[in-house]
């Protein structure tokens, strides 16, 4: 399998240097770590919002560094949790004294390393709070998790918590809005192809020309169901119904939607999916307040998409619509 890389061993390191070179006024790299922080970190008197996880999900996480979103993003090796000492370094670099919210996707390695880092910085007197995102409605437990996986809904947690922190709210309040998003969001994904990790160099699962996987995560793991290929509309219906059944929304509810590309799918196809998603919501009298379409949390070169729906009230609309200035997401 051809890849535009030099060496699987150095791919994360080189990616981070390239990112800093692309956004020198926005992000900087902590020396001797795989941690990027927003250039202004720590921001005086502001609660810091930090996240991190395995690499391979770009623009997650470092793409969301900046005004109104994340203060720090720790990159692990491809599909591997960052280690606790890297996370500790990130928290130390981002804490202004107002406390730090750790946004964690629900994978065992991520949860354990974040919690270990959290306890270590607490011993040094830093105030931290955490939120564990588990928006994937496809699974109860997976190869990587106890409980549901954290996937694309995490971006909305970054956005809402980041906006709340930018308002000057305290750590409890920032954590509260993060939990509010987690309690109101659901996601389900699908794959047309497997992804190829730099280290392995071949697909992590084999999918026939006429097959698709429903209910995938973001680590190239197989989904919960393999079926024959379907049209974009049929796939959109499967994903949307699974998410909406989980959320149990009332008619008239306003939502934010994300049609997220997995890294190898053209925008053309994502817009086709979004078209049907909005029709389906309309049929159920659910009102779309905002619809995002693009690559927000990817799985390397996997072709496929996920659909995220988040119920919003006035507070979440204000936070999700608040200004943000990051490499991957700008809201004005």
């Amino acid at each position: 399998m051809k890849k535009l890389i030099n060496d699987a061993e150095t791919v994360v390191d080189e990616m981070l240097d390239g990112m800093v070179a692309a956004y020198p006024d926005t992000v900087r790299r902590l020396p001797d770590t795989q941690v990027l922080v927003r250039d202004s970190a720590p921001v005086d008197d502001k609660v810091a919002v930090v996240s991190g996880g395995g690499s391979g999900h770009e623009p997650t996480h470092a793409g969301y560094l900046g005004e109104g979103m994340l203060d720090g993003a720790a990159a692990g090796e491809v599909f591997t949790s960052p280690t606790a000492d890297e996370l500790e370094a990130m928290v130390d670099a981002c804490d202004s004294g107002a406390g730090v919210l750790l946004v964690i996707k629900n994978y065992e390695g991520d949860v354990m390393n974040f919690e270990t880092a959290g306890e270590m910085v607490e011993m040094e007197g830093t105030e931290v709070a955490e939120v564990v995102v588990d928006d994937d409605v496809a699974v109860e437990d997976s190869l990587y998790t106890s409980g549901r996986r954290g996937v694309c809904g995490t971006i909305l947690v970054h956005k809402a918590a980041g906006a709340k922190a930018a308002e000057g709210a305290d750590l409890d309040e920032v954590q509260r809005v993060a939990h509010k998003v987690v309690n109101n969001v659901g996601t389900m994904g699908m794959a047309l192809t497997s992804c190829v990790t730099p280290e392995k160099g071949e697909p992590t699962f084999d999918l026939g020309e006429d097959e698709i996987e429903l209910g995938i995560g973001i680590h190239g793991e197989p989904g919960v169901e393999r079926t024959e290929a379907m049209s974009a509309d049929e796939i959109t219906e499967e994903l949307t119904e699974a998410v909406l059944d989980d959320l149990e929304l009332d008619a008239g509810q306003e939502v934010v939607t994300i049609v997220n590309g997995m890294g190898g799918t053209p925008q053309m196809e994502l817009f086709v999916v979004n078209r049907r998603l909005q029709e389906l919501l309309g049929e159920r009298d659910i009102e779309t307040w905002d619809a995002w379409v693009g690559d927000y949390m990817t799985s390397l070169d996997m072709a496929g998409c996920s659909i995220t729906v988040c119920a919003v009230d006035e507070e979440l609309k204000a936070l999700l619509g608040a200004p943000a200035e990051t490499p991957a997401l700008t809201v004005r």
């Binding site: 919690e115 270990t116 306890e119």
Partner: protein
């Protein structure tokens, strides 16, 4: 040599011995893990302990606490995944119990804190087919041997190792309920848990190093009655 620096030297030797042992068992641990996990336990642990051995050798004026803490921090940064926090993070936190040096009492406190941290982090209980199945009987047997039976520390440690051996054997026939092996369901039956196994190796090296340090032979113990506290065992 002062008693404190003497104990610290023994702690350094223990880390080096564990590193050697894990390297020797590297393939075996990976084989165990490939049966029911993701086949990286041997390599990850070997890399981590090798780095830990180098780090503790580099300490300027080591204390037991500093040696244990340094080893833990190194495991955290080198092992990664879930094993980094479980093995390394727990060592970092438990090392504080050794701040006044190594005694039978502080060793019990250290073992209890280590177990508590592993349980907090991994959220597993006896019978889930994890390292807990080796740790719980080992720690409780150690504590009882020191506090109730008044055994000399080396004998208490030998009994704890025997209890851990029982625990490892116990992981073979049971069905996994935690960790990646749990997704195999009944297919996990018949396989020995890699985490319990590496935990046993670490304890065996602690015992061997302690015996060597005290210039004694490893005591032979009656290993027939490991203790676990009421309510720890689960029946399903």
């Amino acid at each position: 040599m002062s008693p404190e620096s003497d104990a610290a030297a023994a702690a350094v030797a223990a880390v080096e011995n564990v590193a050697d042992r894990i390297e020797t068992e590297r393939e075996h641990l990976t084989d165990l893990d490939s049966a029911i996990g993701d086949a990286d336990h041997g390599g990850n642990m070997a890399r981590g302990w090798q780095a830990a051995a180098e780090a503790v050798t580099d300490l300027d004026s080591p204390t037991v606490e500093a040696v244990v803490k340094t080893a833990g921090k190194t495991l955290l940064s080198e092992v990664g995944g879930a094993s980094g926090p479980l093995y390394g993070g727990s060592l970092v936190f438990a090392s504080a119990e050794l701040s006044d040096g190594l005694t039978a009492e502080s060793a019990v406190a250290f073992a209890e804190t280590y177990l508590e941290k592993v349980q907090d982090r991994g959220d597993a209980k006896v019978g889930d087919k994890t390292m807990i199945d080796a740790l719980v009987p080992a720690v409780h047997t150690f504590k009882k041997s020191v506090e109730t039976d008044d055994l000399p520390p080396l004998d208490a440690l030998a009994k704890a190792v025997a209890a851990a051996e029982h625990g490892v054997a116990f992981t073979v026939p049971i069905r996994a309920a935690k960790g990646r092996a749990s997704y195999l369901g009944w297919r996990s039956v018949g396989h020995q848990d890699p985490g319990a196994t590496s935990t046993l190796y670490i304890m065996e090296e602690l015992l061997a190093t302690a015996a060597d340090h005290l210039d004694q032979v490893v005591p032979s113990v009656d290993a027939t009655s490991p203790t676990i506290p009421d309510g720890e065992a689960t029946e399903e």
